[in-house]
């Protein structure tokens, strides 16, 4: 199997820590794989016709295609080892995971333990520096979208939140309202700004600590980004951009210019209010975004700025399974944060692709194929208890457990996640009682006021500065 991807020397900046998840706007184009977050969140980047045609040809030959715009698995799903090799990044080792545990004193997140985040660039350098007391900061982002958040969207934010807490570092979240406007035909800039504002509430509802988190819309923050953006723009030629992003001459000139806007927050000089220059940046992202950051890292090298370190996630299967072609118009294909508990359970029961036997007898006799069973795969992502997961896996594979039972357990877990969210967010919600029949997430979100969003979006807050000044002082001591 061949892997078709952008040539290694032509890397590219682009979003961000939104690993794919079930049900994407473009999921219809991706048999077997969905990448909601990355594509719908960061926008359909440089979706050039000519490029699509080329990719279509490769696809026709059964090749694997992974670029920031396209994810096409081969027949057996994505070959991640091959991707690591092609992109030239490094697999995450168990030693590294142990080291993270040692350094942070926290149990590694299950996304790390179970290999959902599986690859990296410069993670060792980042950890070495951290060990010596050199703090970094985390950069992630989201393209404004009118879509409801689904569980898949949550992966990058949950992981980012864990990283932030474990390492106790600042976090910046970029909302690319400008990009969305440039890529979406009928969208106005005002509407894009409004969507970004609303999305900020979704993100805040995930429970980020306002004292350590800065959220910004590009259209608000460009004044501070611009000097950095210019320096990056100056080092990317149109040809490189064209080769990397495959933009079409009929595309607007903003699409290509934007690439540099998105790369800018990967450098701490873009945040003079609360970060010192030269602080390292850490970018959690889906693996398909890697080419983007290769370009960003190359520019960093030219400028002698610290290269952003990256950590990559795999893609999540769609509810209907690896082999199913999904349709974005069918709301049942994703588990939305805004769904009620009842609805979540119903979707799982009805749509989650089963690797179990067709009948109870068959299942008792042969057991389930865990690799294709979506309920089990989802439990792997969302169930915290390692022992229980192992038990379920063994029993299910051996035929001791039935699909219905596994699905029920997944329903419990997912409902818990949606609820847990709200409980995590004590800072914002003070553990308010929630209505059981309403979506927990919506109730939590409804409590977020504009003033809270304003607080998150103010770069000049004293609390941002002081919380890290304190941190640095402690380390020095």
């Amino acid at each position: 199997m061949q892997i078709a991807a952008a040539p290694a020397h032509l890397a590219q900046p682009r979003h961000l820590a939104t690993p794919p998840a079930p049900n994407a706007v473009r999921a219809a184009h991706h048999p077997g794989l969905a990448r909601a977050g990355a594509l719908s969140a960061a926008g359909v980047f440089f979706s050039a016709l000519s490029r699509r045609r080329k990719l279509a040809a490769r696809r026709a030959e059964g090749e694997q295609v992974v670029t920031p715009w396209e994810v096409e698995a081969g027949e057996d799903g994505v070959d991640y080892d091959k991707l690591i090799e092609t992109f030239g990044c490094q697999p995450i080792t168990s030693e590294q995971i142990e080291r993270i545990e040692r350094l942070t004193g926290k149990r590694p997140h299950r996304f790390l333990r179970r290999g959902l985040f599986f690859s990296h660039r410069d993670l060792d350098e980042l950890l070495n520096a951290y060990e010596k007391g050199e703090a970094f900061y985390i950069y992630t982002g989201r393209g404004p979208s009118s879509e409801s958040l689904h569980l898949g969207h949550l992966v990058p934010f949950l992981f980012t939140k864990w990283l932030q807490e474990a390492f106790d570092v600042p976090l910046v979240i970029e909302l690319t309202d400008d990009e969305k406007f440039l890529f979406k035909k009928d969208l106005t800039i005002e509407e894009s700004r409004r969507l970004a504002w609303e999305n900020a509430k979704d993100i805040i509802a995930c429970g980020f600590d306002p004292k350590k988190t800065f959220i910004f819309r590009d259209s608000d923050y460009i004044q501070q980004l611009y000097p950095v953006t210019l320096q990056i723009q100056k080092r990317i030629s149109l040809r490189t951009a064209q080769n990397t992003f495959g933009f079409d001459p009929a595309d607007n000139i903003g699409k290509v210019a934007f690439a540099a806007v998105q790369a800018s927050p990967a450098f701490s000089i873009a945040f003079p209010d609360f970060l010192e220059p030269g602080r390292r940046c850490f970018v959690p992202q889906a693996i398909d975004q890697d080419p983007y950051f290769r370009l960003c890292r190359r520019v960093a090298e030219d400028l002698k700025w610290p290269k952003p370190a990256c950590i990559h996630s795999k893609f999540l299967p769609a509810l209907q399974g690896h082999q199913t072609k999904m349709s974005a118009s069918v709301a049942s294909t994703a588990l939305y944060m805004t769904d009620t508990e009842k609805k979540l359970r119903k979707k799982i029961n009805k749509h989650a692709f089963s690797g179990g036997g067709k009948t109870e007898e068959e299942q008792r006799e042969h057991g389930a194929n865990l690799d294709v069973d979506v309920s089990y795969q989802y439990l792997k992502i969302w169930l915290e208890d390692d022992e229980e997961l192992e038990r379920i896996g063994e029993d299910y594979a051996a035929g001791k457990l039935l699909t219905g039972e596994v699905k029920k357990r997944l329903g419990d877990v997912v409902s818990e996640i949606v609820r847990e969210h709200q409980e995590d967010s004590d800072v914002l919600f003070f553990g308010t009682e929630l209505e059981i029949n309403e979506s927990f997430f919506l109730q939590a979100r409804a409590r977020i006021e504009d003033a809270t969003v304003e607080r998150f979006m103010d770069p000049a807050r004293e609390e941002l500065r002081s919380s890290f000044a304190k941190k640095l002082a402690t380390e020095a001591a």
Partner: protein
Amino acid sequence: MAEGYPEAEAKPKAKKPRPLPPPPPPALATASLLVRGAAARVLGLSPGPCGGELQPIWVTEPGCSKITMSFEGTSREPFPKEDAHNALLIALEAETNRLAAGGRIAVFEMDKADAEKKYGEDIYEPKSQRPDRLRLAHLPGAALVEIPNNWSLCASTSDCGKIEFLAREVEAGSKKKPDTMIMAKKKQVFVKFSVGNPDAPAADIGGEMPSEDEAKALTDKSVRVEVLGVDVKDEAKEEPASKAAKSVTEEVKAEGEMVVDPWSVKGKIDYEKLIRDFGSTKISDDLLERIRKITVGSGRVSDLHCWLRRNIFFSHRELDAICALQEKGKPFYLYTGRGPSSAAMHLGHLLPFMFTQWLQKAFDVPLVIQMTDDEKFLWKGEYDPEKGDNLHVYKRFTIENAKDIIACGFDKKKTFIFSDLEYVGHMYPNIVRVWKAITYNTARGAFGFVGESNIGQSAFPAVQAVPSFPSSFNVPFKGDQHLPCLIPCAIDQDPYFRVTRDIAHKLVPKDHPLKGKPSLIHCKFFPPLTGAEGKMAASDENSAIFLTDTPEDIEKKITKYAFSGGRQTAKEQREKGADLDADVSYQWLRFFLDDDAELQKIEEQYGSGQGEDYWSAGQVKKKLIEVLKQMVKKHQEIRASITDEEVAEWMKVRELDF
């Protein structure tokens, strides 16, 4: 790109139509020649034999036509495979529009025998009837082909407006073929296209016939346009970035031919022709009279500026509309700018500001001045291993240049000077709007970007465009979204603002009096000291008088370097008089000597070699030195009193008083 502007001079041509085939409307006929010329350059063809059969679909789809060309015998060997066809068509469309922007077209008749003898048979298309008397059309650098007798063409290639290729894709699953495609099997290219200005009038076109060599070059089938993704893959083999802002296409220019675009001005300038090529309008005596009534009539100024009186500002776009608004008491604002590339400005740099200062005073209107420090960084910025990028240097140049600008005597309460680096946040919503409205193709056609241009350069035209829209100045203009804009600029900057005008309606409310289009007033070039051709450049020190020059410097430079149109000997000068057109001292006096009577005296005496005061080059130079010394001294005195704090006040985002 091109203006859809009715041209006063262009009159519909009364040609007797022949029964068959129906002649295309002039805009489509002109566009079809452009497509052929472009196809020849992109695909490596000879524009005659490749043919250009037109389908008369304009009957049912006004403003559209479909052309069929053959690429039999292309020099692109082997012909690129199907996956490259899209790139070829894109390049073809871009090249068509680039040629259209060039403006020039010539039509002439010749006897068949003469034509064949002079130009060979490549002028014919395969199906030509080859009549005894031929009509030939010449697109410089692109095509020399026979055209049917019943065709009429537009006065300028830019008149047909933007040429767009249509129906490049068919819906998935459809068995129909796209209307615009390359069919390798039949060796044919089909292009369905539309023109931006389908009603562009026909014109009687003359023009010179090209020389044999020129014509021969057109039929050599060489590929003159490199196509991204087809010809251009290896970055290492590309031209260096310093040439980034040049056209990608091979320059097919005869020695001494006039070239005017935002990056270069070469050759002897024919301003009448520029007006025709650019599609702008000459400033008529009537218009001058209207301006006089509004400005001198108000008592704010005593006379029209001498550059208006002397036709140095000679061309415009919709200045009459600005006047009409003024006559009703409606305000407008002025926009001009400067790229702070160095701390040292020369006289040529100051001219637009001197004139803008007069406009502001005469019309009593607000003014915004853009300092494009970001632009200069993107084009000229340098990296220092110790200190990093030198962005700060351009910030400093901005302040230094602002002092020179302020010294021109603007009204502080009505003037806002801003640096892009500092003001970008306010402009950004408009910048992304302009980004969204301009395709890479348009940008490449109008601004000449190549693969090596950086992505900031290709994005920059938007930054220069947005000050044309009042919503970029919500604070200074107190939220007024309807204020029209007038831009004084040298004629070579016109292409920039043509693109701005094309997309303007997307950035203003629907009832904006000029639909958002900035009005323009164009000036001629200020000749360099060393000769009247071309414009003054800061790169050659001796070609310019700097604002920091001492009286001795000025005297020395004028005496030594000012190109003289005077004769070799006194005797000859007395007999023949000087060549005033070539004489820089006289040309400069036209700019800087306000006294009409004195100037006329110089003109008469120096031009004829007669009289006492100004018959010789030495006397004229002496006068110029005197004028310049006084002017520069006054400027230096005022500038010396302007502090950084003073500059900060002018650059503060604040409400203007108007």
